[in-house]
Amino acid sequence: MSALFQQHGALVALVVLTAIASLSFDSFATGGNFENMAVSSAFLAVVALGMTFVIITGGIDLSVGSVFVLGGVLAAWGSQYGTLVALLLPLVVCGLIGLVNGLLIAKAGLAPFIVTLASMLGARGIMLNVTDEGAKTYLVDKGAFFAKLGQGKLLGIGAPVWITVVLFVVGAVVLRRTRFGQHVYAVGGNEDAAALMGAPVARTKITVYVLSGLLAGLAGTLNAAWLASGVTILGFGMELDAIAAVVIGGTLLSGGLGFVSGSLVGVLLLKVIQNVINQIGSLDSAYQQVVSGAFLVVVIVAQTWLGKRRQML
């Protein structure tokens, strides 16, 4: 029962909340609103995908919000030199930040939260440096091929949504069906045991932080293509939403257990809650933070309790 709740609780909550919202607000269950929610969920979902891998290894990545913003700014700046630069520049830089995180955590043995807290600061500093202390916004030419990655549509569904779906399918297969995926679970379950069984602990850890950096950078890149500009103020605090989504989706913060589909459901649940708060209208956007924080507390408490009960059984 508790395992069932842990795995599908978020899905049940999503279905119930969507049903209630559809009945309560005329403007909720419309194609336009769903499409809007899907596209705006896509960017957080891509970040949460990387975070899922990191959290399953028992780590955490607090730098993703800053890396997301940095990726977007670099992509927008790079788009004047063509699509290839717009895509590669943020991926290289953000991948490198992930590599530095991974090396400091896996090789130097530093605590993940402190390393990624530092790189959150560092990435924000680089971003401010690139944008003239945040004053300069780089625009993407709306006619460029790069912009289509964000604004294009296929079968009426936005390109970012398609890209996200593909990434999640690949992510699920990698986690469930490959040796690397097994190592990710093993490292998170019990690092010493994993090392004894011959799993490459350091390499696995480094890889998940590189993945997380790459995906956060890619999400920022897609976001820049969608908005046609590298926005410097979005994304801060995104690490919290990503962690919340992953945890709500049933991945244990203590590592060793989790799945990417849960994180997708977690992202959708957060977006529906946000949308409902917007629909109520009279509620300030500041309430979103209060509700997110309270919701996160409830989920973490529930998860910790369920986890404890399972340990006892």
Partner: protein, 321 residues
């Protein structure tokens, strides 16, 4: 035998050096930055500049004192910046009843956030990073709900608290120094302090020894919340305005840096208050140095990121996870 003896003898020099760096490096850093500024920075040696630096370092130091307690218990408190924001909002709302009422409400607000943090950690067993992360979002949101935008604070008592001085030394310096002495005394000389360090050293052992683990942990986070609230109060007095969006932003990072640079290990069990004071001064001096040499604020963030990683690298304890 020989192998053991060799392993003991070989890295001794290096680990001795690292330990010395961890414990006293921060003082060397402060002295080096001071010398650099005295030699190369215009208008550095002036009483006006001393006042400015001292007033700016006080809130960082006060928050760092609470953070030192949390880290000493093998935890961390990421909500401190948001508690400062909550404190500035509450202050604006209750200033009409006088400064003492406002201060009282602010302290209650900080204690309440700390109580939630501590309860989640002590009773439910949530990891400190995660519990305080949730409150970091929640408390900032609450601050913005209470006070949606920047508001000026007009109060003579607040103005004098923010920038006034006694015998040439700003009031806030006396307050910060008094709190540092009080926290240092609490850690060194009280039962609570010893229990806190024992819990930070090994929570299971402390539990087996019959220490009141839950009560101590909750007290730690309540104290951290109260100290952050006081820091928010003083920062508001200095700015003569309540800005719940910006106040305390990234303060958790500065506080953690001050504590860790000051020689308190993240693995808990030790608290160095003198080092924490020096760590806060180091951060303030680093920021001031970069600004006075016309480097943009973004460089401050990059420099601070490098300092924090270096400090944690030097202070890391092998073998303890």
């Amino acid at each position: 035998m020989a192998d053991v003896a060799l392993r003991k003898a070989m890295p001794a020099d290096r680990s001795e050096l690292l330990r010395w760096l961890r414990d006293y490096g921060v003082y060397g850093g402060v002295v080096a930055l001071l010398l650099f500024n005295i030699a190369f920075t215009e208008h550095f040696v002036s009483s006006e500049n001393f006042r400015t630096q001292a007033i700016q370092v006080a809130p960082i130091l006060i928050v760092a004192l609470g953070m030192a307690l949390a880290i000493g218990s093998e935890g961390v408190d990421l909500s401190v910046g948001s508690v400062m924001a909550l404190s500035t909002s509450l202050l604006s709302l209750y200033m009409g009843y006088g400064i003492w009422v406002a201060l009282f409400v602010v302290i209650i607000g900080g204690a309440a956030v700390g109580l939630v943090n501590g309860s989640l950690i002590a009773f439910i067993g949530v990891q400190p990073i995660v519990a305080t992360l949730a409150l970091m979002v929640g408390a900032r949101g609450l601050a913005l709900v209470l006070l949606p935008q920047l508001k000026d604070v007009h109060d003579p008592a607040m103005a004098s608290l923010g920038s006034g001085d006694f015998a040439g030394i700003p009031y806030v310096v006396y307050i910060a120094a008094g709190l540092a002495v009080a926290v240092g005394f609490t850690v060194r000389r009280t039962t609570f302090g010893r229990q806190l360090l024992a819990i930070g050293d090994s929570r299971p052992a402390a539990k087996l020894a019959g220490l009141p683990v839950r009560r101590v942990l909750i007290t730690v986070y309540v104290l951290s919340g109260i100290l952050a609230a006081i820091a928010g109060f003083l920062a508001t007095a200095r700015l003569s305005a309540s800005d719940p969006t910006a106040l305390g932003d990234l303060m958790e990072l500065s506080a953690i840096t001050a504590v860790v640079v000051g020689g308190t290990p993240l693995s808990g069990g030790r608290v160095r208050i003198g080092g924490t004071v020096a760590g806060a001064v180091l951060i303030q001096l680093l920021t001031a140095t970069l600004i006075k040499h016309d480097l943009p604020p973004s460089w401050t963030q990059i420099a601070q990121a490098v300092v924090i990683v270096l400090a944690v690298y030097v202070a890391r304890e092998r073998g303890k996870r």
